[in-house]
Symmetry: C2
Subunit: 406 residues, 2 copies
C-alpha cells in the first residue's frame, strides 16, 4: 500500500447535499491518485437524522430503542451508497458497507451501543482489490444481528476504532471548521487554530465546551494512541493534530480557553455536616439520570454548610424535584437554582510545570471585576463559574493574558 492507509471521516455537513458529496468524492479520488489506500467513514446527510427522529416522535414518542436504531441507521446507509456512486463516477472503484457488513460488533445498548470488536476481514479484502471502502458511521450490529447506533459522536468513534483496527497511518476527521481553536472565534476573533494538541488537553477542552469532537472518541484515540487530524472538508488547509505528546512553542503554558453556557448552578443550603449527607444527595441524582458536573462544598465551621453543583440546563426541573425531596430527608434547607452562569476554563498540559496559572487566571478575572462563584481544577485545567454576562470579557482577557493570540 504505497502511501499508506488513511481513515477519513466526513460529518453530516460535509455530505449535506449532492454537490458536497461530489466534492468529498473529488477529495477521495485525489488521495487515491497520490497512492493512498482509503477507508472512508460517513455520517448521515445533514438534517436526515433530524427528519427521521421527527417522524418517529410523531408516531410514538416512546418508540422502542431497537426500532429507533433500525430507523436512524438508514441515514448513513443512504450517504455511503451515494458517496460510492460519486466516487465511481470519477473513475475510481468504491464499495459501501453498513456498520454490520464490516463487522462492527456492539453490545445491545440501543441508541448508545459500545463497540465490542471489529471483524475487519471484509475491509482488508476490498482494500487489497484497490477499492475505496466507504463505511456507514455511527452504527454497528449485535451478535444477534440487530442493528445498533453508537450515540452522539458515533461516527468519529467508528473512524477512530477502524483506524486502530486497521493500523492506519492517519485518521482524518473532516468537519465544517478548520480545526480546534484556542477559544471560540465567534467570541474572540483573535483565536488561533491550534496546530497540535494532546489527547488529554483535547479531552478537557471537549468536556469543557469545545464542540468539535465528543470526549468519547478522543478517549478511544488516546487509549490506542491513534493520532487524529481534525480539519475542514471545505478547504485544503491543514487542521489540528491531536496526538499523545504535542510539540509546544516555548512558553505556551495554556493551549486554550473554553466556555460553556449550557449549565445551571444548584445550591442546597444548610446541609448537615455529617457523613453520608452528600452521598445521599448525589446517589438520588444519579439514579434520576442527572449528570452532575462540578461540585463544591466548603469546609464548614458550623454544623451546617452550603453545597453547590452544576448540571446541564436541560436537567434543571428534574434536578430541583429530586433535590428538594432529598434536602427534606436529610434535614437541609432551601434549594436555589441559578441559570445565569457560565463556566470558563483554561486548559494546557503546560500548567503541570507552571504553578502560577491559577493565580494568573484569578487575578485576570479580579482585574476585570468578575466574581468567581465556584472553582474546580484538574491536572491540566482550571474552571471557574462566573455570571454569564461576564463570559465574553473573561474569554478575551484570558486569551490575551495567556498570549494565545501570539
Amino acid at each position: 500500500m504505497q502511501g499508506g492507509l488513511i481513515v477519513q471521516k466526513y460529518g453530516g455537513s460535509s455530505v449535506a447535499n449532492i454537490e458536497r458529496i461530489q466534492k468529498v468524492a473529488e477529495r477521495i479520488v485525489n488521495y487515491k491518485k497520490k497512492g493512498f489506500s482509503l477507508v472512508v467513514v460517513v455520517s448521515a446527510m445533514a438534517d436526515t437524522t433530524d427528519e427521521l427522529i421527527e417522524m418517529a416522535d410523531k408516531i410514538n414518542p416512546e418508540a422502542p430503542e431497537r426500532e429507533m436504531d433500525m430507523l436512524l441507521s438508514t441515514g448513513e446507509q443512504i450517504s455511503v451508497s451515494l458517496l460510492a456512486m460519486a466516487v465511481h463516477k470519477l473513475g475510481v472503484e468504491a464499495i459501501s458497507f453498513t456498520g454490520g457488513q464490516v463487522g462492527i460488533i456492539t453490545d445491545g445498548n440501543y441508541t448508545k451501543a459500545r463497540i465490542v470488536k471489529i471483524q475487519a476481514e471484509k475491509i482488508r479484502e476490498e482494500l487489497k482489490k484497490g477499492r475505496v471502502v466507504i463505511v456507514a458511521g455511527f452504527q454497528g450490529i449485535t451478535i444477534a444481528h440487530d442493528i445498533t447506533t453508537l450515540g452522539r459522536g458515533g461516527s468519529d468513534l467508528t473512524a477512530v476504532a477502524l483506524a486502530k483496527e486497521l493500523a492506519a497511518n492517519e485518521c482524518e476527521i473532516y468537519t465544517d471548521v478548520e480545526g480546534i481553536y484556542t477559544t471560540d472565534p465567534r467570541i474572540e476573533p483573535k483565536a488561533q487554530k491550534i496546530k497540535m494538541i494532546t489527547f488529554d488537553e483535547m479531552l478537557e477542552m471537549a468536556s469543557l465546551g469545545a464542540q468539535v469532537m465528543q470526549p468519547r472518541s478522543i478517549e478511544v484515540a488516546k487509549k490506542f494512541n491513534v493520532p487524529i487530524h481534525v480539519r475542514s472538508s471545505f478547504s485544503q488547509n491543514p487542521g489540528t493534530m491531536i496526538v499523545k505528546e504535542a510539540v509546544k512553542m516555548e512558553g505556551a503554558v495554556i493551549t486554550g480557553v473554553t466556555l460553556n453556557k449550557n449549565e445551571a448552578k444548584i445550591t442546597i443550603c444548610d446541609v448537615p455536616d455529617r457523613p453520608g449527607a452528600a452521598a445521599h444527595i448525589f446517589k438520588e441524582l444519579s439514579e434520576g439520570g442527572v449528570n452532575v458536573d462540578m461540585i463544591v462544598q466548603n469546609v464548614s465551621h458550623t454544623r451546617k454548610t452550603d453545597l453547590s453543583f452544576t448540571i446541564p440546563k436541560a436537567d434543571v426541573s428534574k434536578t430541583i424535584k429530586i433535590t428538594k425531596k432529598t434536602a427534606k430527608e436529610i434535614g437541609a434547607g432551601e434549594v436555589l437554582q441559578d441559570e445565569d452562569i457560565a463556566r470558563i476554563a483554561v486548559v494546557g498540559v503546560g500548567m503541570k510545570s507552571h504553578p502560577g496559572v491559577a493565580a494568573d487566571m484569578f487575578e485576570t478575572l479580579a482585574e476585570n471585576k468578575i466574581n468567581i462563584e465556584m472553582i474546580s481544577t484538574s491536572d491540566i485545567s482550571i474552571s471557574c463559574i462566573i455570571k454569564k454576562k461576564f463570559v465574553e470579557t473573561a474569554v478575551k482577557e484570558l486569551h490575551e493574558k495567556f498570549k494565545l493570540a501570539k
Copy 2:
C-alpha cells in the same frame, strides 16, 4: 397459534404518510386481538424510492447496481421501523427486520435478484414470543452479505415467499384498489370486483395489462399453491381471492377484459420466406434487451412475407435501430412502426370448454367496425391489436357481450 398465521403485505400507498402508517397499525392490532399471528411485509413509503433514485441519477446515472440496492433498501427499512413503532404505540409488541435479518437469501443479480432460500428461524422465534413480525419487502441479502433488491413487484414476492415458507393460512396483499376487476373501472364503470380468480387467469390478466400485481409473484404463488387475497388498506371490504381453482358462477366463461395502451407495433415488410430469417431478427432484439410480446407472421404465398410484432413503447427507438440493421442483413424491406395501437384481451379458464369465445369476440369488434390488426391466443386468453382510438368502445362492448357486469 389460535386463529392461524396471516402474512400481510402493505404497498407504498398504504404507508405513504404517518396517518396511513397509523391506520395500518390499527388494522394489524385488530387482527392480533382476534388471535391471529402476523407477519407483515411492507414496501417503502410512496415517493421514497423515487426520491432516492432521483438523487442517485444526479450523482451517477450509471451507478453500480450494488450501490443502487444499498441505497434503495433503506426505503423499506424506514417504513418497517416506523410501522413497528406505531404498533407498539397501540400496546402490541412488534419487531422490524430487514430482508437480510430474516434470512431472505438471494442470488447476486442486483436490482432484480431472485430469492434462493429463506432461513425463517428468526421469524418463527419472534412469532413464538407473540410479537408481530414486520419485514422489509423488496429486499434480500446474498450469502456474502451484500444487500440486494428483487425488482418490480418485489414486496409481493417477499410476502408470497414468506407465506409459503411459514405455511401461512392466508396471504393478504393490501393495495390502493379493492381487488381485481372484470376490467378497468375508469373505462367501464360497470366493471365488477372479481370475488375469485385462478392463478392462471390472474397471470394472463397481469401480463395483458391489469396492473394490480406483477406476474412474478403470482407465478410463485401458483407454483407453491399460496392463496392470495388482494384487497384495499383503505376499507374493510373483502377483495379478490387468487386461488388454484376458482368456484365460478354458471355460465361465466370470461373472467375479465384487459387492455394495454403501452405497446407499439413494428412491421418488417418483405421478409424473405426462408428458414432462419425470423430467428435472426428476434435473436438480435433479445440481445439488445427488447422484450418482444405478440408476434404475427402470415403464411406467405410469394417468397416474401410481412412480419409484425409488438414491444413496450419505451423500446421503440432501440428496436427500430436494431431491426433496420437486421432487415438489411437478411434482405428484407422497409421497417414500419405504429404507436397508435392498443391490445385488448379477454381472459377466462371457461373458454377452454367454450370454443365460441374467439368468434364472439371477433364478431363484437366487427359489429362495432373495429378492425383487428393482429390476433394472438393462449389456452385461456384471446388478444387482439386494434387502433387505440377504439379501445374504450371495445372494452365496453366486450364487457357487455360476456355479461361481466352481471
